[in-house]
């Protein structure tokens, strides 16, 4: 019984940490974007205020059950991924639900949420939502390919599908970022799409699509989505750190590493205009795919 309680406690703490970190990162990104644009920008805790305000909205509407449950699907995906990705090396953090952190399971559970939310967006009957969803899914096909190539290269090179094993490998061989540079490049370029920052933000283009899939969501629904987004961001960043940067031994190291990774899509986005969907797909099937191939060749040769 103790262990069950310990597990549940671990789960809750992990989720809270992920939420806080994700929110802060997003706030920081707004701040940094503002500074890059020579603005003062909102305070770094602005996102917390926004989230709180959304949560305190008094009324809410929904267009049916799927719309109502959409954010819950999203939450399932983000929390499941945060539970499966080991936060720190050697199980120093709560052991969680990680089951060795199976990467294929992770890949699939990560699309569970977007698909569920897409169903919610679909039920609103808002054409903008549906258009946004189709763009998002198309773009997903785009970036999944190099991303999977990178993962497959790693998995086959080290003969494991377990994230824990990959982290353990890095304890001896050093960061995979250096030993498998092409996989890292492909994965990083795919990450640009995964975070949906500019130039890959056509999914929710505010003026064109009225923020796309979320255009009918407000109040508690948007709040849930926002929280899920931040948890998911944390999960993805941790995944990258675990995969390529040797994981982290403590929370501070984790924060530094994740933030470094986070800077890449953020800074890339700040200086890029927006791609159309097919341009985005072609982008991902250009250099990232090439790097993915190189990663596979690298994995085959070594």
């Amino acid at each position: 019984m103790e262990s069950v309680g310990y597990y549940i406690l671990g789960v809750i703490v992990t989720i809270i940490v992920a939420f806080m970190v994700g929110m802060t990162y997003m706030g920081l990104s707004r701040k940094i974007t503002a500074r890059v644009q020579n603005r003062k920008g909102p305070p770094f805790y602005q996102n917390f205020i926004d989230a709180f305000k959304l949560a305190s909205k008094e009324t809410a509407i929904h267009h049916g059950f799927m719309h109502h449950a959409g954010p819950a699907f999203l939450m399932v995906a983000s929390i499941m991924s945060v539970l499966i990705i080991p936060v720190l090396n050697d199980g120093k953090w709560f052991p969680n639900l990680n089951f060795d952190g199976d990467l294929i399971f992770l890949l699939y559970i990560m699309v569970f949420g977007p698909l569920g939310m897409a169903l919610g967006a679909g039920q609103t009957g808002n054409p903008n939502s549906a258009i946004g969803v189709t763009r998002g899914l198309s773009q997903m096909v785009g970036f999944e390919i190099p991303w999977v190539m990178a993962l497959v290269a790693l998995m086959m090179q080290y003969q494991t599908t377990s994230l824990v094993d990959l982290m353990a490998v890095q304890q001896t061989t050093g960061w995979l970022m250096f030993s498998s540079p092409f996989a890292f490049l492909a994965a990083v370029l795919a990450m640009l799409g995964m975070f949906r920052y500019s130039p890959f933000d056509i999914v929710g283009a505010p003026t064109e699509l009225a923020s796309g899939p979320v255009s009918e969501n407000g109040g508690k629904y948007l709040f849930t989505m926002m929280s899920s987004g931040s948890i998911f961001a944390f999960a993805k960043l941790t995944l990258y750190v675990d995969l390529f940067m040797g994981g982290a031994d403590n929370l501070i190291e984790l924060l530094i590493k994740t933030f470094t990774i986070y800077l890449i899509p953020m800074l890339y986005g700040m200086v890029s205009p927006r791609y159309r969907t097919e341009q985005a797909i072609r982008y991902f099937w250009g250099w990232p795919l090439f790097f993915g191939f190189l990663a596979l060749v690298h994995a085959m040769v070594f």
């Binding site: 920008g41 909102p42 305070p43 305000k53 305190s56 909205k57 009324t59 699509l209 969501n217 109040g219």
Partner: protein, 182 residues
């Protein structure tokens, strides 16, 4: 605990503080006023530092910003957009057209006084108001929110018949307006 007045007060205070610092604006750019929004938002005046931020759809927005004259035709849409917004919600009338018709005082199809049709919380005077004035307007709104006085939505709910009656007067009975739906 929940019925406790003090804790309710504290909760209200926190909520209002959050609402005050997070104002998502749906700019209904009907008239020439829309041109003043970009400078307000961009680096020169940077409204985002106050927590003011654009929202794309009424479902997410807190503030409906009416930037200019409203014809009878757009008025219907604006009211619908307002009703689609979720509580708590505020209206800012922007420019003299919303106050007294401005230069369209004798036009056959623009309304002259916005607050007959929507519960305006803050008017921003000027033709056009400069970004400074806009920021001042937001500041005033924040102040009202913090004090808990920005209760236009409540007014709209309470005096719904009055607002709807005014609307009926100009659009006639032909146009099917849905019932009140936030």
């Amino acid at each position: 605990m929940i019925n406790d007045k003090n804790s309710q007060k504290i909760a209200d205070f926190i909520k209002n503080w959050a609402r005050k610092h997070s104002i998502w604006v749906l700019a209904y750019g009907t008239g020439c006023g829309a041109i003043e929004i970009p400078p307000t938002m961009t680096s020169r005046y940077d409204a985002e530092r106050l927590g003011v931020r654009g929202a794309a759809t009424p479902r997410q927005a807190d503030v409906l910003l009416i930037t200019g004259y409203l014809t009878t035709k757009t008025l219907k849409r604006v009211i619908r957009v307002y009703e689609q917004m979720q509580d708590p919600k505020y209206v800012i009338g922007f420019g003299s057209c919303t106050i007294n018709g401005g230069m369209y005082y004798d036009s056959y199809n623009t309304i002259k006084v916005l607050d007959k049709y929507l519960p305006v919380d803050v008017y921003i005077n000027g033709c056009m108001p400069r970004p400074e004035a806009v920021l001042a307007g937001f500041g005033k709104l924040q102040q009202l929110i913090a004090e808990g006085k920005a209760n236009g939505a409540q007014k709209y709910k309470d005096d719904h018949e009055y607002y709807r009656g005014n609307l009926r007067k100009i659009i006639g009975n032909k146009y099917e307006m849905p019932l009140y739906n936030w």
